[in-house]
């Protein structure tokens, strides 16, 4: 870790992703999520949905995504976490997918439409939301793999104008229930958001805005990630 607070950056799998991941890490990312695109991503807003459409048009099917993951693994040392949807695992085979991802260098897994309780045998980072009951927070904390992904708001991924008013209550409830690190994501896009969110949580996840910057190339991404890093460490 480069600082006290963990910075997680999401990138969509694609031909340029290994180089982009390297740039993100150079800018100060502690963990990189790699999106395996799905045709019907229910949890995603327009930026990541469109990035997924482009990735699929470029042929980023499961095998290509696993290759991308392995190539990224060769370039960076930080934890890599594929993020995808249940349909991809259903088609590939649930266990087979987890094995293949691990073999390609994945540290864990996030499945956006697989809530805690469904397929508990699949080790993965669990998500909780402001709507989660204490009972669900407990279940997710018990089953999660390393850290808990706090969805900061009721909504899909994508930048929001300001910090979520729903997050403080969620963090407070989660702290009472579990000691696992809490990383907050959805809606965070600016260094200012990052700093405000990190006052509450142990880390932040930035997706949509990072995907937009990644489209401008590694230098732009690196600079953006560095600005988040500075905000978290400052």
């Amino acid at each position: 870790m480069t600082g006290e607070k963990t910075l997680v950056i999401y990138l969509m799998a694609g031909p340029d992703t290994p180089a982009l991941a390297e740039a993100a890490v150079a800018g100060g990312a502690d963990i990189v999520e790699i999106g395996f695109p799905f045709s019907d991503p229910l949890a995603d807003g327009p930026v990541i949905r469109r990035a997924g459409e482009r990735a699929l048009a470029q042929g980023m099917r499961t095998a290509a995504c696993l290759d991308c993951l392995a190539e990224t693994r060769r370039l960076v040392d930080v934890p890599l976490v594929p993020m995808t949807y249940a349909s991809i695992l259903e088609a590939y085979g649930w266990e087979r997918f987890a094995d293949a991802a691990r073999a390609a260098g994945a540290t864990s897994l996030i499945v956006a439409d697989l809530p805690a309780g469904e397929r508990p045998e699949l080790r993965r980072v669990q998500l909780v939301a402001p709507t989660s009951t204490d009972e669900r927070l407990r279940l997710a904390a018990e089953q999660t793999d390393g850290w808990l992904y706090l969805v900061t708001l009721t909504g899909t991924t994508g930048a929001r104008a300001g910090p979520s008013g729903q997050l403080p209550g969620l963090v407070e409830r989660a702290r009472r229930i579990t000691d696992v690190p809490l990383y907050a994501g959805f809606g965070i896009s600016t260094p200012e958001h990052a700093r405000e969110t990190a006052v509450l949580a142990d880390g932040i996840v930035v997706g949509s805005r990072a995907v937009e910057l990644a489209e401008e190339g590694p230098d732009a991404l690196c600079e953006y990630v560095a600005s988040l890093r500075t905000a978290l460490d400052g």
Binding site: D40, L42, S87, P115, E118, T131, T133
Partner: protein
């Protein structure tokens, strides 16, 4: 922990944000079912507002030599079976304190039914509809507007029911605390497949009573079209326990999730889906917007696997021919969706057949006339 399974199908494959709302809906539905006043209210609305029971019509000229009975859901208020479900869910939503309704629509029939019940109960209504479907189902778009609903076009992907459903779910994720998602078919995460089946089962219950009155015996075969599968599951529900009654579901050839799909996950449930080997959802193709969907209700997938229901398909041309034939021989213009069921019924090796005529064809005139 996994709930709402039909064999290995069903379940809840949705973001965590929705789970508490699904739990609340499940509990609210369980309480409503135990409450006689809920059923009484639905019965009264069905009778006084919707026009239940709908008649059973013997069609003697459509298929000479057979006795084909049509369950006339086309005569229900708003012109299709969709109102049964929309009324029930709207009453349920109010019990749950939800005053805003979102829905998806393909052919527009479910959107019209939802807009109708929202007008009836004074609820805010937002309907997501693919831009391509808005083009081919213009009259229903206008009806929804007149009923006070906001129709939001979905301009990406296939611009049809699949994307409209995804957008409705995204809206629900965003506004879950105030909003009920009024899903239009027996698809989606638990408890929706069960909820919609139960609300549509009035079709099968009435049909069973009516055909026993008319013929003194049960039909040899019951036929219904299957997109998501709500009219079919409602009709089949009345006959599943009658082992001697054969049941046939008819899909559109280019949207045959059951005949040519594979196990997959779409819109919150595991079912039989049109998907490629990587699990990416494929585009469906049908002249009928209501059948133009790459998924199907999980209970249908289980009924296929168990062999209790046989699933076949009909082409666009076969459906169009049946559409015209029913108009010319019986004076009934069917929707293009049940025209698929009509197309297969004619070649069944059976004397006494019951078909669910799930909707009327006014909405399809432009589309059908352009092809005929």
């Amino acid at each position: 922990m996994t709930t709402g399974l039909y064999g290995t199908y069903g379940g809840r494959y949705v973001p965590e944000t929705l789970i508490p709302a699904l739990d609340e809906l499940e509990a609210g539905w369980a309480a409503a079912r135990r409450d006689p006043s809920f059923q009484n209210e639905l019965d009264r609305l069905g009778r006084e507002y919707a026009g239940r029971p709908t008649p059973l019509t013997l069609s003697e000229r459509f298929a000479p030599g057979k006795r084909i009975y049509l369950k006339r859901e086309d005569l229900l208020h708003t012109g299709a079976h969709k109102l049964n479900n929309a009324l029930g869910q709207a009453v349920l939503a109010q019990r749950l304190g939800k005053r805003r309704i979102v829905a998806e629509t393909g052919a527009g029939q479910h959107g019209v039914a939802t807009a109708t019940v929202c007008a009836r109960f004074g609820l805010e209504c937002v309907v997501y509809m693919g831009a391509e479907d808005m083009r081919r189902q213009r009259p229903n778009v206008e009806r929804m507007g007149l009923l006070g609903a906001e129709v939001r076009p979905v301009e990406f992907g296939t611009k049809t029911l699949k994307e409209a459903t995804s957008e409705a779910i995204r809206d629900w994720i965003t506004n879950v605390e105030t909003t009920h998602y009024l899903i239009g078919s027996c698809v989606g995460p638990h408890p929706y497949p069960e909820l919609v089946r139960e609300l549509q089962s009035v079709i099968g219950r009435e049909s069973r009573t009516q055909i026993l009155e008319a013929e003194g015996r049960l039909p040899e075969v019951v036929v219904a079209c299957v997109g998501g599968g709500s009219n079919a599951i409602g009709m089949f529900a009345g006959f599943l326990d009658d082992a001697e009654v054969k049941m046939v579901g008819v899909e559109a050839r280019g949207a045959a999730s059951l005949s040519s799909g594979r196990p997959g996950v779409l819109h919150g449930a595991r079912s039989s889906i049109l998907a490629d080997e990587d699990g990416q959802i494929l585009d469906a193709h049908s002249i009928s917007a209501g059948l133009d969907y790459p998924g199907v209700g999980p209970e249908h997938a289980a009924l296929r696997d168990s062999g209790r229901v046989e699933y076949v398909s009909a082409t666009d041309d076969e459906a169009l021919a049946a559409f015209r034939r029913l108009a010319e021989t019986e004076g009934i213009i069917p929707a293009l969706e049940p025209a698929h069921a009509l197309a297969r019924a004619a070649d069944l090796d059976a004397g006494l057949v019951l078909i669910c005529l799930s909707g009327r064809g006014d909405k399809d005139l432009d589309q059908a006339l352009a092809h005929l």
